[in-house]
Protein backbone atom coordinates (compact mmCIF):
# COMPACT_ATOMS: atom_id res chain seq x y z
CA UNK A 1 0.00 0.00 0.00
CA UNK A 2 1.40 3.43 -0.94
CA UNK A 3 0.92 6.86 0.55
CA UNK A 4 0.04 5.52 3.98
CA UNK A 5 0.40 9.04 5.38
CA UNK A 6 -2.65 10.06 3.34
CA UNK A 7 -4.98 7.71 5.20
CA UNK A 8 -7.62 8.93 7.60
CA UNK A 9 -7.62 7.67 11.18
CA UNK A 10 -10.64 5.48 10.44
CA UNK A 11 -9.02 3.95 7.36
CA UNK A 12 -5.72 3.36 9.13
CA UNK A 13 -7.46 1.82 12.12
CA UNK A 14 -9.33 -0.61 9.88
CA UNK A 15 -6.15 -1.54 7.97
CA UNK A 16 -4.26 -2.03 11.24
CA UNK A 17 -6.99 -4.28 12.56
CA UNK A 18 -7.08 -6.24 9.32
CA UNK A 19 -3.32 -6.63 9.46
CA UNK A 20 -2.77 -5.01 6.03
CA UNK A 21 -0.44 -2.40 7.46
CA UNK A 22 1.60 -1.97 10.57
CA UNK A 23 1.94 1.05 12.81
CA UNK A 24 5.65 1.07 11.99
CA UNK A 25 4.86 1.35 8.27
CA UNK A 26 2.38 4.15 8.91
CA UNK A 27 4.88 5.95 11.10
CA UNK A 28 7.69 5.58 8.58
CA UNK A 29 5.44 6.99 5.85
CA UNK A 30 4.68 10.03 7.99
CA UNK A 31 8.31 10.52 8.99
CA UNK A 32 9.22 10.44 5.30
CA UNK A 33 6.54 13.02 4.48
CA UNK A 34 7.75 15.24 7.34
CA UNK A 35 11.35 15.03 6.15
CA UNK A 36 10.24 16.22 2.72
CA UNK A 37 8.16 19.13 4.02
CA UNK A 38 10.65 21.41 5.69
CA UNK A 39 9.33 24.34 3.66
CA UNK A 40 6.04 24.13 5.53
CA UNK A 41 7.85 24.52 8.87
CA UNK A 42 5.01 22.61 10.52
CA UNK A 43 7.01 20.21 12.70
CA UNK A 44 9.46 22.11 14.89
CA UNK A 45 10.68 19.35 17.20
CA UNK A 46 11.10 15.89 15.70
CA UNK A 47 10.83 12.69 17.74
CA UNK A 48 11.38 9.90 15.18
CA UNK A 49 13.01 7.44 17.61
CA UNK A 50 10.25 7.84 20.15
CA UNK A 51 7.69 7.49 17.34
CA UNK A 52 9.16 4.23 16.05
CA UNK A 53 9.40 2.81 19.57
CA UNK A 54 5.76 3.65 20.21
CA UNK A 55 4.76 2.28 16.81
CA UNK A 56 6.45 -1.04 17.60
CA UNK A 57 4.64 -1.19 20.93
CA UNK A 58 1.37 -0.36 19.17
CA UNK A 59 1.87 -3.19 16.68
CA UNK A 60 2.37 -5.62 19.54
CA UNK A 61 -0.77 -4.35 21.24
CA UNK A 62 -2.83 -4.59 18.05
CA UNK A 63 -1.59 -8.14 17.50
CA UNK A 64 -2.69 -9.01 21.02
CA UNK A 65 -6.22 -7.78 20.23
CA UNK A 66 -8.54 -5.25 21.85
CA UNK A 67 -6.39 -2.22 21.03
CA UNK A 68 -8.20 1.15 21.24
CA UNK A 69 -9.08 3.02 18.03
CA UNK A 70 -6.12 5.42 18.25
CA UNK A 71 -3.60 2.61 18.71
CA UNK A 72 -0.85 2.90 16.10
CA UNK A 73 -2.13 6.19 14.66
CA UNK A 74 0.69 8.70 13.97
CA UNK A 75 -0.20 12.17 15.23
CA UNK A 76 1.45 15.55 15.69
CA UNK A 77 1.25 17.39 19.00
CA UNK A 78 0.97 21.17 19.21
CA UNK A 79 3.95 22.70 20.98
CA UNK A 80 1.59 24.06 23.67
CA UNK A 81 1.24 20.58 25.19
CA UNK A 82 3.89 19.59 27.71
CA UNK A 83 5.45 16.32 26.61
CA UNK A 84 7.79 14.48 28.91
CA UNK A 85 11.44 14.80 27.94
CA UNK A 86 10.55 16.49 24.65
CA UNK A 87 10.96 20.26 24.14
CA UNK A 88 7.70 22.07 24.83
CA UNK A 89 8.07 25.78 24.47
CA UNK A 90 4.73 27.19 23.29
CA UNK A 91 6.67 28.63 20.32
CA UNK A 92 8.26 31.12 22.71
CA UNK A 93 11.86 32.04 23.29
CA UNK A 94 11.14 32.25 26.99
CA UNK A 95 10.71 28.47 27.16
CA UNK A 96 13.83 27.72 25.14
CA UNK A 97 15.39 24.49 26.36
CA UNK A 98 12.42 23.57 28.55
CA UNK A 99 11.90 19.82 28.70
CA UNK A 100 8.95 18.95 30.92
CA UNK A 101 9.32 16.24 33.52
CA UNK A 102 5.66 15.36 32.97
CA UNK A 103 3.13 14.75 30.22
CA UNK A 104 -0.06 16.77 29.69
CA UNK A 105 -3.22 14.79 30.41
CA UNK A 106 -4.47 15.04 26.83
CA UNK A 107 -1.21 13.86 25.25
CA UNK A 108 -0.88 11.19 27.96
CA UNK A 109 -4.35 9.88 27.10
CA UNK A 110 -3.42 9.73 23.44
CA UNK A 111 -0.13 8.01 24.30
CA UNK A 112 -1.90 5.53 26.55
CA UNK A 113 -4.40 4.81 23.77
CA UNK A 114 -1.42 3.83 21.62
CA UNK A 115 -1.19 6.93 19.41
CA UNK A 116 2.27 7.59 18.02
CA UNK A 117 3.68 11.09 18.56
CA UNK A 118 5.75 12.17 15.55
CA UNK A 119 6.90 15.49 17.01
CA UNK A 120 5.82 18.93 18.09
CA UNK A 121 3.96 21.36 15.88
CA UNK A 122 4.45 25.04 15.16
CA UNK A 123 1.99 27.61 16.51
CA UNK A 124 1.70 31.27 17.42
CA UNK A 125 3.68 32.18 20.52
CA UNK A 126 1.62 31.20 23.58
CA UNK A 127 -1.27 30.64 21.13
CA UNK A 128 -1.58 34.40 20.67
CA UNK A 129 -2.14 35.02 17.00
CA UNK A 130 -4.26 34.12 14.01
CA UNK A 131 -1.59 33.52 11.38
CA UNK A 132 1.28 31.56 13.02
CA UNK A 133 3.46 34.64 12.43
CA UNK A 134 4.28 35.25 16.10
CA UNK A 135 6.17 31.96 16.50
CA UNK A 136 9.80 31.89 17.63
CA UNK A 137 10.29 29.11 15.05
CA UNK A 138 9.20 31.36 12.17
CA UNK A 139 6.04 31.07 10.11
CA UNK A 140 4.32 27.80 9.40
CA UNK A 141 3.22 27.80 5.76
CA UNK A 142 -0.12 26.71 4.36
CA UNK A 143 0.21 23.77 1.92
CA UNK A 144 -2.53 25.45 -0.13
CA UNK A 145 -1.01 27.77 -2.70
CA UNK A 146 -2.67 29.43 -5.69
CA UNK A 147 -0.07 31.97 -6.82
CA UNK A 148 3.47 32.98 -5.92
CA UNK A 149 2.56 33.90 -2.37
CA UNK A 150 3.09 31.78 0.71
CA UNK A 151 -0.18 31.75 2.62
CA UNK A 152 -0.81 31.52 6.34
CA UNK A 153 -2.23 28.24 7.64
CA UNK A 154 -4.04 30.37 10.23
CA UNK A 155 -3.36 30.36 13.92
CA UNK A 156 -2.70 29.72 16.53
CA UNK A 157 -2.72 25.98 15.66
CA UNK A 158 -1.13 26.74 12.28
CA UNK A 159 1.46 23.96 12.34
CA UNK A 160 -1.23 21.42 13.26
CA UNK A 161 -3.46 22.52 10.39
CA UNK A 162 -0.61 22.61 7.86
CA UNK A 163 0.62 19.16 8.94
CA UNK A 164 -2.81 17.53 8.65
CA UNK A 165 -3.64 19.23 5.33
CA UNK A 166 -0.27 18.19 3.87
CA UNK A 167 -0.65 14.58 5.10
CA UNK A 168 2.44 14.79 7.32
CA UNK A 169 0.43 13.04 10.02
CA UNK A 170 -2.99 11.46 10.21
CA UNK A 171 -4.22 14.00 12.75
CA UNK A 172 -2.96 16.53 15.26
CA UNK A 173 -3.86 18.13 18.54
CA UNK A 174 -4.81 21.79 18.62
CA UNK A 175 -5.99 24.24 21.23
CA UNK A 176 -8.59 26.95 20.88
CA UNK A 177 -8.94 30.07 23.03
CA UNK A 178 -10.70 32.33 20.51
CA UNK A 179 -10.76 30.25 17.33
CA UNK A 180 -7.28 28.72 17.22
CA UNK A 181 -8.51 25.29 16.11
CA UNK A 182 -11.41 26.32 13.88
CA UNK A 183 -9.81 29.21 11.93
CA UNK A 184 -6.71 27.21 10.87
CA UNK A 185 -8.93 24.23 10.01
CA UNK A 186 -11.00 26.48 7.76
CA UNK A 187 -7.86 27.95 6.14
CA UNK A 188 -6.49 24.50 5.27
CA UNK A 189 -9.57 22.48 4.29
CA UNK A 190 -9.42 20.33 7.43
CA UNK A 191 -11.79 19.59 10.31
CA UNK A 192 -11.28 21.04 13.77
CA UNK A 193 -13.49 20.81 16.83
CA UNK A 194 -13.28 22.78 20.04
CA UNK A 195 -15.26 20.81 22.60
CA UNK A 196 -17.33 22.23 25.45
CA UNK A 197 -15.22 24.02 28.07
CA UNK A 198 -14.27 21.32 30.58
CA UNK A 199 -14.40 18.34 28.18
CA UNK A 200 -10.63 18.10 27.77
CA UNK A 201 -8.30 18.50 30.70
CA UNK A 202 -6.14 21.61 30.57
CA UNK A 203 -3.53 20.04 32.84
CA UNK A 204 -0.10 20.26 31.27
CA UNK A 205 -1.25 22.53 28.46
CA UNK A 206 0.65 25.81 28.66
CA UNK A 207 -2.01 28.28 29.83
CA UNK A 208 -3.03 31.32 27.80
CA UNK A 209 -6.51 32.31 29.08
CA UNK A 210 -7.67 29.60 31.44
CA UNK A 211 -11.41 30.34 31.29
CA UNK A 212 -11.37 30.04 27.49
CA UNK A 213 -8.67 27.49 26.61
CA UNK A 214 -9.75 24.06 25.32
CA UNK A 215 -7.86 21.36 23.47
CA UNK A 216 -9.35 19.52 20.51
CA UNK A 217 -8.46 17.35 17.52
CA UNK A 218 -7.58 18.57 14.02
CA UNK A 219 -8.30 15.91 11.46
CA UNK A 220 -9.04 15.10 7.82
CA UNK A 221 -12.66 14.09 8.39
CA UNK A 222 -15.47 14.52 10.88
CA UNK A 223 -15.35 10.80 11.69
CA UNK A 224 -11.69 11.15 12.60
CA UNK A 225 -12.54 14.12 14.82
CA UNK A 226 -15.07 11.95 16.65
CA UNK A 227 -12.56 9.12 17.14
CA UNK A 228 -9.73 11.33 18.31
CA UNK A 229 -11.84 13.61 20.53
CA UNK A 230 -13.08 10.56 22.37
CA UNK A 231 -9.51 9.60 23.22
CA UNK A 232 -8.61 13.14 24.31
CA UNK A 233 -11.47 14.02 26.64
CA UNK A 234 -12.71 12.85 30.01
CA UNK A 235 -12.53 13.86 33.64
CA UNK A 236 -9.17 14.66 35.18
CA UNK A 237 -8.74 15.30 38.89
CA UNK A 238 -5.72 17.47 38.07
CA UNK A 239 -7.88 20.10 36.34
CA UNK A 240 -10.53 21.43 38.71
CA UNK A 241 -12.60 22.74 35.77
CA UNK A 242 -12.60 19.37 34.02
CA UNK A 243 -16.12 17.98 33.76
CA UNK A 244 -16.94 14.77 35.60
CA UNK A 245 -19.32 13.56 32.91
CA UNK A 246 -19.38 10.31 30.97
CA UNK A 247 -17.78 10.46 27.52
CA UNK A 248 -20.15 9.02 24.93
CA UNK A 249 -19.05 6.99 21.92
CA UNK A 250 -18.90 9.93 19.53
CA UNK A 251 -18.25 7.84 16.44
CA UNK A 252 -21.32 5.71 17.11
CA UNK A 253 -23.37 8.90 17.15
CA UNK A 254 -22.55 9.63 13.48
CA UNK A 255 -25.85 8.27 12.24
CA UNK A 256 -26.23 10.71 9.36
CA UNK A 257 -29.78 11.38 10.48
CA UNK A 258 -30.54 14.99 11.36
CA UNK A 259 -34.23 14.97 10.47
CA UNK A 260 -36.20 17.35 12.66
CA UNK A 261 -33.11 19.10 14.01
CA UNK A 262 -33.48 22.87 14.25
CA UNK A 263 -30.50 24.75 12.86
CA UNK A 264 -30.26 28.42 13.75
CA UNK A 265 -28.88 31.06 11.38
CA UNK A 266 -27.85 34.06 13.48
CA UNK A 267 -28.56 37.32 11.67
CA UNK A 268 -25.81 39.18 13.53
CA UNK A 269 -23.16 37.05 11.79
CA UNK A 270 -24.06 38.66 8.47
CA UNK A 271 -21.29 41.23 8.57
CA UNK A 272 -20.95 44.35 6.46
CA UNK A 273 -18.36 43.78 3.79
CA UNK A 274 -18.53 40.00 4.06
CA UNK A 275 -17.28 38.49 0.80
CA UNK A 276 -20.14 37.31 -1.43
CA UNK A 277 -18.52 33.88 -1.67
CA UNK A 278 -18.74 33.36 2.08
CA UNK A 279 -22.33 34.55 2.14
CA UNK A 280 -23.15 32.13 -0.70
CA UNK A 281 -21.35 29.24 0.98
CA UNK A 282 -23.24 29.86 4.20
CA UNK A 283 -26.57 29.81 2.38
CA UNK A 284 -25.56 26.68 0.50
CA UNK A 285 -24.69 25.01 3.81
CA UNK A 286 -28.10 25.88 5.23
CA UNK A 287 -29.79 24.51 2.10
CA UNK A 288 -27.86 21.25 2.41
CA UNK A 289 -28.90 20.79 6.02
CA UNK A 290 -32.50 21.56 5.06
CA UNK A 291 -32.32 18.97 2.28
CA UNK A 292 -31.13 16.47 4.89
CA UNK A 293 -34.30 17.06 6.85
CA UNK A 294 -33.30 19.82 9.28
CA UNK A 295 -35.39 22.87 9.87
CA UNK A 296 -33.59 26.16 9.24
CA UNK A 297 -34.57 28.93 11.64
CA UNK A 298 -33.46 32.56 11.68
CA UNK A 299 -32.25 33.49 15.14
CA UNK A 300 -30.79 36.49 16.89
CA UNK A 301 -27.71 36.60 19.11
CA UNK A 302 -27.89 40.31 19.91
CA UNK A 303 -24.62 40.75 21.78
CA UNK A 304 -22.44 39.22 19.05
CA UNK A 305 -20.76 42.47 18.11
CA UNK A 306 -19.44 42.90 21.64
CA UNK A 307 -17.74 39.51 21.70
CA UNK A 308 -14.40 40.58 20.24
CA UNK A 309 -13.93 43.60 22.52
CA UNK A 310 -14.95 41.50 25.55
CA UNK A 311 -12.54 38.76 24.49
CA UNK A 312 -9.69 41.24 24.08
CA UNK A 313 -10.19 42.36 27.68
CA UNK A 314 -10.67 38.93 29.26
CA UNK A 315 -8.05 36.92 27.38
CA UNK A 316 -5.16 39.38 27.90
CA UNK A 317 -6.18 39.84 31.55
CA UNK A 318 -5.93 36.10 32.15
CA UNK A 319 -2.76 35.90 30.08
CA UNK A 320 -1.06 38.62 32.09
CA UNK A 321 -1.71 36.57 35.20
CA UNK A 322 -0.82 33.17 33.69
CA UNK A 323 2.38 34.43 32.07
CA UNK A 324 3.63 35.94 35.32
CA UNK A 325 5.26 32.55 35.95
CA UNK A 326 7.87 33.18 33.25
CA UNK A 327 10.34 34.98 35.45
CA UNK A 328 13.66 33.35 34.63
CA UNK A 329 13.79 31.50 37.93
CA UNK A 330 12.30 28.03 37.55
CA UNK A 331 12.44 27.18 33.86
CA UNK A 332 13.25 28.56 30.47
CA UNK A 333 15.22 31.59 29.48
CA UNK A 334 17.06 33.91 31.87
CA UNK A 335 18.63 37.11 30.55
CA UNK A 336 22.33 37.76 31.06
CA UNK A 337 22.58 40.31 33.79
CA UNK A 338 24.80 43.35 34.00
CA UNK A 339 26.86 44.41 36.99
CA UNK A 340 24.62 45.60 39.80
CA UNK A 341 21.45 44.10 38.32
CA UNK A 342 19.06 42.83 40.96
CA UNK A 343 16.06 40.57 40.81
CA UNK A 344 13.77 43.20 39.25
CA UNK A 345 16.19 43.73 36.39
CA UNK A 346 16.38 39.96 35.98
CA UNK A 347 12.60 39.72 35.62
CA UNK A 348 12.30 42.70 33.32
CA UNK A 349 15.18 41.80 31.02
CA UNK A 350 14.23 38.12 30.91
CA UNK A 351 10.66 38.88 29.92
CA UNK A 352 11.67 41.56 27.40
CA UNK A 353 14.03 39.09 25.70
CA UNK A 354 11.82 36.04 26.06
CA UNK A 355 8.43 37.34 24.95
CA UNK A 356 7.78 38.44 21.36
CA UNK A 357 5.98 41.69 20.54
CA UNK A 358 2.42 40.31 20.42
CA UNK A 359 2.79 38.52 23.74
CA UNK A 360 4.30 41.61 25.34
CA UNK A 361 1.43 43.70 24.00
CA UNK A 362 -1.21 41.36 25.40
CA UNK A 363 0.48 40.96 28.76
CA UNK A 364 0.69 44.71 29.10
CA UNK A 365 -2.91 45.39 28.05
CA UNK A 366 -3.99 42.67 30.48
CA UNK A 367 -1.94 44.28 33.22
CA UNK A 368 -3.57 47.62 32.47
CA UNK A 369 -7.19 46.36 32.54
CA UNK A 370 -6.55 44.58 35.83
CA UNK A 371 -4.78 47.52 37.46
CA UNK A 372 -6.32 49.53 40.28
CA UNK A 373 -8.81 52.05 38.95
CA UNK A 374 -9.51 50.24 35.68
CA UNK A 375 -10.57 46.81 36.90
CA UNK A 376 -14.27 47.69 37.05
CA UNK A 377 -14.33 49.79 33.91
CA UNK A 378 -12.75 47.13 31.71
CA UNK A 379 -12.40 43.69 33.27
CA UNK A 380 -15.64 43.53 35.25
CA UNK A 381 -17.61 45.11 32.45
CA UNK A 382 -16.21 42.57 29.99
CA UNK A 383 -17.19 39.71 32.31
CA UNK A 384 -20.72 41.09 32.49
CA UNK A 385 -20.90 41.31 28.70
CA UNK A 386 -19.63 37.73 28.59
CA UNK A 387 -22.62 36.69 30.72
CA UNK A 388 -24.91 38.38 28.19
CA UNK A 389 -23.22 36.67 25.25
CA UNK A 390 -23.71 33.32 26.92
CA UNK A 391 -27.33 34.20 27.69
CA UNK A 392 -27.95 34.88 23.98
CA UNK A 393 -26.99 31.28 23.21
CA UNK A 394 -28.96 29.89 26.15
CA UNK A 395 -32.08 31.64 24.91
CA UNK A 396 -31.59 30.24 21.41
CA UNK A 397 -31.15 26.71 22.76
CA UNK A 398 -34.12 27.14 25.11
CA UNK A 399 -36.21 28.05 22.06
CA UNK A 400 -35.42 24.61 20.63
CA UNK A 401 -32.38 25.32 18.46
CA UNK A 402 -30.12 22.25 18.26
CA UNK A 403 -27.15 23.77 16.45
CA UNK A 404 -26.12 27.05 14.88
CA UNK A 405 -24.56 27.43 11.44
CA UNK A 406 -22.16 30.29 10.69
CA UNK A 407 -19.17 30.97 8.47
CA UNK A 408 -15.92 29.87 10.13
CA UNK A 409 -13.82 32.85 9.02
CA UNK A 410 -14.43 36.20 7.32
CA UNK A 411 -12.04 35.32 4.47
CA UNK A 412 -9.92 32.55 2.98
CA UNK A 413 -6.24 32.24 3.99
CA UNK A 414 -4.29 35.45 3.45
CA UNK A 415 -0.65 35.88 2.50
CA UNK A 416 2.06 35.66 5.15
CA UNK A 417 3.27 39.17 5.92
CA UNK A 418 0.21 40.85 4.42
CA UNK A 419 -1.08 41.97 7.81
CA UNK A 420 2.29 43.25 9.00
CA UNK A 421 1.37 46.90 8.53
CA UNK A 422 -2.15 46.57 9.90
CA UNK A 423 -2.84 47.57 13.49
CA UNK A 424 -3.26 44.62 15.91
CA UNK A 425 -7.04 45.00 15.96
CA UNK A 426 -7.24 44.13 12.24
CA UNK A 427 -5.71 40.73 12.93
CA UNK A 428 -8.14 40.16 15.79
CA UNK A 429 -11.09 40.38 13.36
CA UNK A 430 -10.16 36.90 12.10
CA UNK A 431 -11.80 35.54 15.24
CA UNK A 432 -15.09 37.36 14.76
CA UNK A 433 -17.17 34.20 14.12
CA UNK A 434 -15.37 31.88 16.51
CA UNK A 435 -14.71 33.89 19.65
CA UNK A 436 -18.32 33.92 20.87
CA UNK A 437 -18.14 30.14 21.23
CA UNK A 438 -15.21 30.33 23.66
CA UNK A 439 -16.86 33.10 25.66
CA UNK A 440 -19.98 30.93 26.02
CA UNK A 441 -18.00 27.72 26.65
CA UNK A 442 -19.79 25.88 23.82
CA UNK A 443 -18.59 23.21 21.40
CA UNK A 444 -17.86 24.44 17.87
CA UNK A 445 -16.59 22.66 14.78
CA UNK A 446 -15.18 23.93 11.49
CA UNK A 447 -15.96 21.80 8.44
CA UNK A 448 -14.46 22.41 4.99
CA UNK A 449 -17.33 23.38 2.71
CA UNK A 450 -15.91 24.57 -0.59
CA UNK A 451 -13.28 26.50 -2.49
CA UNK A 452 -13.28 30.21 -3.26
CA UNK A 453 -12.82 31.59 -6.78
CA UNK A 454 -9.05 31.36 -6.42
CA UNK A 455 -9.23 27.75 -5.31
CA UNK A 456 -8.64 28.21 -1.57
CA UNK A 457 -10.67 26.28 1.00
CA UNK A 458 -13.47 27.91 2.97
CA UNK A 459 -15.09 26.48 6.07
CA UNK A 460 -18.40 26.61 7.84
CA UNK A 461 -18.82 26.48 11.59
CA UNK A 462 -21.45 24.59 13.54
CA UNK A 463 -22.02 25.50 17.18
CA UNK A 464 -23.66 22.98 19.48
CA UNK A 465 -25.33 22.78 22.86
CA UNK A 466 -23.03 22.31 25.85
CA UNK A 467 -21.82 18.70 26.23
CA UNK A 468 -23.56 17.64 23.03
CA UNK A 469 -20.47 17.15 20.90
CA UNK A 470 -21.94 13.87 19.64
CA UNK A 471 -24.98 15.53 18.07
CA UNK A 472 -22.79 18.36 16.79
CA UNK A 473 -20.39 15.92 15.13
CA UNK A 474 -23.35 14.15 13.55
CA UNK A 475 -24.64 17.39 12.03
CA UNK A 476 -21.11 18.21 10.86
CA UNK A 477 -20.88 14.72 9.36
CA UNK A 478 -24.05 15.37 7.35
CA UNK A 479 -22.74 18.73 6.17
CA UNK A 480 -19.40 17.17 5.23
CA UNK A 481 -21.12 14.47 3.18
CA UNK A 482 -23.38 17.02 1.47
CA UNK A 483 -20.56 19.40 0.49
CA UNK A 484 -18.54 16.48 -0.78
CA UNK A 485 -15.33 18.40 -0.08
CA UNK A 486 -12.42 16.21 -1.16
CA UNK A 487 -9.93 18.78 -2.49
CA UNK A 488 -6.34 18.52 -1.36
CA UNK A 489 -3.51 20.99 -1.84
CA UNK A 490 -1.29 20.27 -4.82
CA UNK A 491 2.18 19.38 -3.57
CA UNK A 492 4.73 22.17 -4.19
CA UNK A 493 6.87 21.87 -1.07
Amino acid sequence: MSDLNKLTIAQARDHLRAGDVTAVELTEACLGAIAGAEKLNAFVHHTPDLALARAKAADARIAAGNAPAMCGIPVGIKDLFCTEGVPSQAASRILEGFKPEYESTVSAQLRDAGAVMLGKLNMDEFAMGSSNETSVYGNAVNPWKVDGRDLTPGGSSGGSAAAVAADLCLAATGTDTGGSIRQPAAFTGTVGIKPTYGRCSRWGVVAFASSLDQAGPMTKTVRDAAIMLQAMCGHDAKDSTSADLPVPDFEAMLTGDIRGQKIGIPREYRMDGMPAEIEALWKQGADMLRDAGAEIVDISLPHTKYALPAYYVIAPAEASSNLARYDGVRFGHRAKLGPGDGISEMYEKTRAEGFGPEVQRRVMIGTYVLSAGFYDAYYNRARKVRSLIKRDFEQAFAAGIDAILTPATPSAAFGLGEMAEADPVQMYLNDVFTVTVNLAGLPGIAVPAGLDAKGLPLGLQLIGRPWEEGALLNTAHVLEAATGFVSKPVKWW
Binding site: Y197, A237, E345, R381
Partner: protein
Protein backbone atom coordinates in the same frame (compact mmCIF):
# COMPACT_ATOMS: atom_id res chain seq x y z
CA UNK B 1 -10.41 57.62 21.96
CA UNK B 2 -8.50 56.52 25.00
CA UNK B 3 -5.09 58.01 25.33
CA UNK B 4 -2.37 56.20 27.14
CA UNK B 5 0.40 58.68 27.82
CA UNK B 6 4.08 57.85 28.07
CA UNK B 7 4.00 57.85 31.85
CA UNK B 8 1.16 55.29 31.91
CA UNK B 9 2.90 53.13 29.31
CA UNK B 10 6.08 53.18 31.41
CA UNK B 11 4.10 52.23 34.51
CA UNK B 12 2.26 49.37 32.78
CA UNK B 13 5.53 47.98 31.43
CA UNK B 14 7.00 48.05 34.90
CA UNK B 15 3.93 46.41 36.46
CA UNK B 16 4.18 43.67 33.81
CA UNK B 17 7.92 43.37 34.55
CA UNK B 18 8.87 43.86 30.92
CA UNK B 19 11.79 46.16 30.17
CA UNK B 20 10.74 48.59 27.43
CA UNK B 21 13.44 50.94 26.16
CA UNK B 22 12.53 54.61 26.46
CA UNK B 23 12.50 55.06 22.67
CA UNK B 24 9.86 52.33 22.28
CA UNK B 25 7.41 53.87 24.74
CA UNK B 26 5.61 56.16 22.25
CA UNK B 27 4.80 53.22 19.94
CA UNK B 28 3.68 51.11 22.90
CA UNK B 29 1.46 53.91 24.18
CA UNK B 30 -0.12 54.22 20.76
CA UNK B 31 -0.79 50.48 20.44
CA UNK B 32 -2.29 50.26 23.91
CA UNK B 33 -4.47 53.27 23.12
CA UNK B 34 -5.74 51.57 19.95
CA UNK B 35 -6.64 48.45 21.88
CA UNK B 36 -8.42 50.40 24.60
CA UNK B 37 -10.42 52.29 22.00
CA UNK B 38 -11.47 48.93 20.55
CA UNK B 39 -12.57 47.76 24.02
CA UNK B 40 -14.61 50.87 24.61
CA UNK B 41 -17.35 49.46 22.40
CA UNK B 42 -18.34 47.64 25.60
CA UNK B 43 -19.51 50.93 27.09
CA UNK B 44 -22.53 50.81 24.81
CA UNK B 45 -23.88 47.65 26.50
CA UNK B 46 -26.46 47.93 29.24
CA UNK B 47 -24.99 45.73 31.97
CA UNK B 48 -27.25 46.97 34.76
CA UNK B 49 -28.01 44.08 37.10
CA UNK B 50 -25.85 41.59 35.19
CA UNK B 51 -23.48 39.45 37.22
CA UNK B 52 -19.91 39.25 35.95
CA UNK B 53 -19.22 35.71 34.78
CA UNK B 54 -17.12 33.66 37.16
CA UNK B 55 -17.58 30.22 35.60
CA UNK B 56 -18.69 29.49 32.08
CA UNK B 57 -20.23 26.16 33.01
CA UNK B 58 -22.62 26.08 35.95
CA UNK B 59 -20.57 23.67 38.00
CA UNK B 60 -19.23 23.67 41.51
CA UNK B 61 -15.51 23.09 41.54
CA UNK B 62 -14.76 19.61 42.78
CA UNK B 63 -13.40 19.22 46.26
CA UNK B 64 -10.57 16.85 46.92
CA UNK B 65 -9.04 15.39 50.01
CA UNK B 66 -6.49 17.68 51.60
CA UNK B 67 -3.73 15.13 51.34
CA UNK B 68 -0.27 14.69 49.92
CA UNK B 69 -0.43 13.43 46.34
CA UNK B 70 3.12 13.97 45.23
CA UNK B 71 6.57 14.67 46.54
CA UNK B 72 10.24 13.71 46.70
CA UNK B 73 10.82 15.10 43.23
CA UNK B 74 13.26 17.88 44.03
CA UNK B 75 15.61 16.93 41.21
CA UNK B 76 12.77 16.96 38.69
CA UNK B 77 11.57 20.34 39.87
CA UNK B 78 15.03 21.85 39.60
CA UNK B 79 15.93 20.14 36.33
CA UNK B 80 14.80 23.04 34.14
CA UNK B 81 16.06 25.89 36.29
CA UNK B 82 18.47 28.32 34.61
CA UNK B 83 20.47 28.38 37.86
CA UNK B 84 19.99 25.75 40.55
CA UNK B 85 22.48 25.29 43.38
CA UNK B 86 22.55 22.98 46.36
CA UNK B 87 18.94 22.01 45.87
CA UNK B 88 17.62 25.56 45.49
CA UNK B 89 16.65 27.96 42.74
CA UNK B 90 19.34 30.61 42.62
CA UNK B 91 18.53 34.27 41.91
CA UNK B 92 20.46 37.55 42.17
CA UNK B 93 20.79 38.97 45.65
CA UNK B 94 17.40 40.17 46.90
CA UNK B 95 18.28 41.65 50.31
CA UNK B 96 21.36 43.58 51.23
Amino acid sequence: MSEIDLETARKVAHLARIAVPEENLPALAQELSQMLTFMEALNAVDVEGVEPMTSVTPMRLKRRKDGVTDGDIQAKILSNAPDAREGFFAVPKVVE
